[in-house]
């Protein structure tokens, strides 16, 4: 059980900055996701928290204690490596028992502990097997067993299901989440899969190029992305960006876009004659022939997904995708009017990619 506080954490490898001044707090018992594209510094951040890498600057506090300079062995954190890193010269039992042996725990007690963990993970029958012949899922469970056996303060998991095949991943993800809910230990989980992060996480940090783009609950991040990068990275298909030029002042509740007034959440900032981006999720685009249509688009393609369908349209502001119910009849070639849910729109500065503060997202952005 632990709260982990990260303050201005920074890591340089020579001239290259892998992590730039990250700050976020991982609450006690949270299932915390570190999300970002490949090479953005997720693993580096996780390794610094675990004590496998020394930060260039910044602080790491576990339960209020500054552990920035402490070796890994004194942090009481467990780590599940991407490729599991099971000790190849030991069998399953010895792998799981190894962290206990280092503490000098008596043999009988080790045995009992290992048995208990094996029962929780359902790997009792393979305890005496060598690790080399195990399937991906079993390796994963052994790695988890080694992590949970000594009841550490927190778990670090680096893409723990990334090496498994697709069908197994989902099951393992559920097992992991169930295990966490049962033990309630703080878990930091690295992934580059936004869906996985959304499904499993209590909180998400989205990173890009070593920078924390946003930090919040999955819902906050999905509904109120702090930057265009987050908006684009989260959600599939990703958010539509409608580029236009214009301005607004605080209190405005609409912007002018291609000659139409588009209602938006009340603005809290001002902008003048700037290149702006209106962000709208596909599911918040409605096809309509009524007068409230703000744009018109020609249907280019329809992708059927069961309960919903993704309609790709071309508009004067570029291509746009809408997620509509499958029951709606949409044919390629036809022209439709488009309306947006005002409450759900985001406005970005095209230059910096930052979201403007509105009535909808104020108080959300602190990344």
């Amino acid at each position: 059980m632990a709260e982990i506080v990260i303050r201005n954490l920074r890591k340089e490898f020579g001239d290259f900055t892998a992590v730039e001044g990250s700050s976020f707090t991982i609450g006690d018992g949270e299932f915390f996701m570190l999300l970002g594209p490949s090479g953005c510094g997720k693993t580096t951040t996780l390794r610094m928290i675990a004590g496998l890498e020394l930060p260039t600057s910044g602080e790491i506090l576990i339960d209020g204690e500054d552990v920035t300079r402490k070796p890994a062995s004194q942090r009481d954190i467990a780590f599940v490596f991407q490729m599991f890193a099971l000790y190849p010269h030991m069998n399953v039992r010895r792998n799981i028992a190894y962290p206990l042996v280092s503490q000098g725990m008596p043999k009988a007690q080790v045995k009992a502990k290992v048995a208990e963990v094996a029962r929780i993970l359902g790997i009792e029958e393979i305890l005496e097997h060598p690790v080399s012949g195990l399937s991906g899922g079993d390796r994963q469970r052994v790695a988890l067993g080694r992590a949970i056996v000594r009841s550490p303060k927190a778990f670090m998991m680096d893409e723990p299901i990334g090496a498994l095949d697709a069908e197994f991943r989902e099951r393992m993800a559920e097992e992991l989440r169930a295990l966490h809910d049962r033990m309630g230990a703080t878990t930091v989980y690295v992934t580059h899969d936004q869906l996985e992060a959304m499904q499993m996480g209590d909180k998400i940090v989205v990173m890009n190029h070593g920078v924390v783009e946003q930090f919040g609950t999955p819902q906050e991040i999905y509904d109120h992305p702090a930057t265009m990068f987050v908006a684009d990275f989260i959600g599939s298909p990703s958010m539509n960006f409608i580029r236009f030029e214009g301005g607004f002042r605080p209190g405005d509740t609409s912007v002018r876009l291609a000659g139409a007034e588009v209602a938006v959440p009340a603005l809290r900032e001002e902008a003048d004659g700037r290149r702006l981006v209106l962000g709208v999720r596909p599911e918040h685009v409605h096809l309509t022939d009524a007068a409230d249509a703000v744009l018109r688009g020609r249907v280019e393609a329809v992708e059927y997904l069961g309960t919903t369908q993704i309609v790709t349209l071309s508009t004067v502001n570029g291509p746009l995708r809408a997620r509509v119910a499958s029951s709606e009849v949409v044919r390629p070639g036809e022209v439709a009017g488009l309306a947006f849910d005002a409450r759900t729109l985001s406005l970005f500065d095209a230059g910096t990619g930052r979201a403007f503060v509105t009535a909808a997202n104020e108080g959300v952005h602190d990344g």
Partner: protein, 313 residues
């Protein structure tokens, strides 16, 4: 046809390749067999012309290898009690008696101490250095590694004279320690380079897992890295031992008595009326055994290790 007939070679192919391998083995093994055979010949058979392929085996060579003998007058021979054992009998048939053990056993032990001692030291230091080069940021590590390798670019014997003088000054001439240090110095570059390759192949995550599991860096090295590197260590040890065991030039130059190894000693075995070839051959045969046994013992590791980590999974 069965399912694996596609990859399975045909019977003819097997016979042909088998025959080629046997032929090659015979050609390369003939000198070796010749030495082993000579060890069991009488001195006369050993130098007979044309060479004898079929002969009456005798252990005379081995007896002469392990003993010193003195000639006695026929009367003295008569007065002796009947010979005890086959060795005594052979020696007396030449009109001689066994005067005592030869120096072969001693020289052989010198080879063992120096060969295995320097191998152990090279591999021990080499493993530590290789681990450091592989895992830590060492300033100028590339240059250092190149420097280590460069000590091997010149044939060691090129520096024989300076080493000879240096050893004399330091009192290391003809000492076990001196020879162990010398062979270690020659082998260590090979050891560092080979072992670095092997250790580079071992994922860091294994040690990091151990660090996380509450072990110190040294424990992680000792309990996790070493077992993983066993293959590399075994093959490196064999290479080091083969060099140290067979080294001749320095042994001739720097040892003459106390620390003399078997290679310079064996050719000096003199029998009645010149070189005792069967004894020399017997010595050479015995000399081959330790490396052979060592290699066979480590064979399992060697077969995997020789591919330099390519087959690890």
């Amino acid at each position: 046809m069965s399912a694996h007939s596609i990859t399975e070679p045909s019977a003819t192919t097997k016979w042909i390749s088998g025959g080629l391998v046997v032929a090659y083995a015979v050609v390369t093994l003939i000198p070796l067999l010749w030495i082993v055979a000579t060890g069991f010949k009488t001195p006369a058979d050993a130098i007979s012309y044309p060479p004898k392929v079929v002969f009456d085996p005798t252990i005379e060579g081995y007896v002469n290898l392990f003993t010193t003998r003195t000639r006695v007058t026929p009367e003295q021979l008569e007065s002796l009690p009947p010979p005890e054992g086959i060795a005594e009998e052979i020696v007396r048939s030449y009109g001689m008696v066994i005067a005592g053990p030869s120096r072969f056993g001693e020289r052989f032990m010198n080879s063992v101490v120096i060969g295995f001692g320097s191998t152990f030291l090279s591999v021990f230091l080499g493993t530590l250095a290789a681990y450091a080069f592989s895992r830590f940021k060492i300033p100028l590590s590339d240059d250092l590694l190149f420097f280590i390798l460069s000590t091997r670019m010149m044939p060691p014997i090129a520096v024989a004279i300076p080493i000879f003088l240096m050893y004399r000054q330091l009192g290391l001439s003809d000492t076990h320690l001196g020879m162990i240090l010398l062979y270690t110095a020659v082998n260590i570059s090979l050891a560092v380079w080979l072992l670095k390759g092997f250790i580079d192949e071992i994922p860091r995550e294994y040690e990091e897992a151990a660090l996380i599991d509450g072990y110190t860096r040294f424990q992680a090295f000792y309990k996790v890295v070493l077992p993983q590197a066993a293959t590399g260590i075994a093959s490196t040890a064999i290479f080091c031992l083969i060099f140290a065991w067979n080294e001749y030039a320095f042994a001739v130059l720097l040892t003459s008595g106390t620390a003399q190894t078997a290679p310079p000693f064996i050719p000096t075995i003199i029998g009645v009326g010149g070189q005792d070839w069967p004894a020399v051959a017997a010595g050479a045969t015995l000399f081959l055994l330790p490396v052979l046994i060592f290699t066979v013992l480590l064979r399992k590791h060697l077969l995997r290790g020789i591919t330099f980590g390519a087959v690890r999974k």
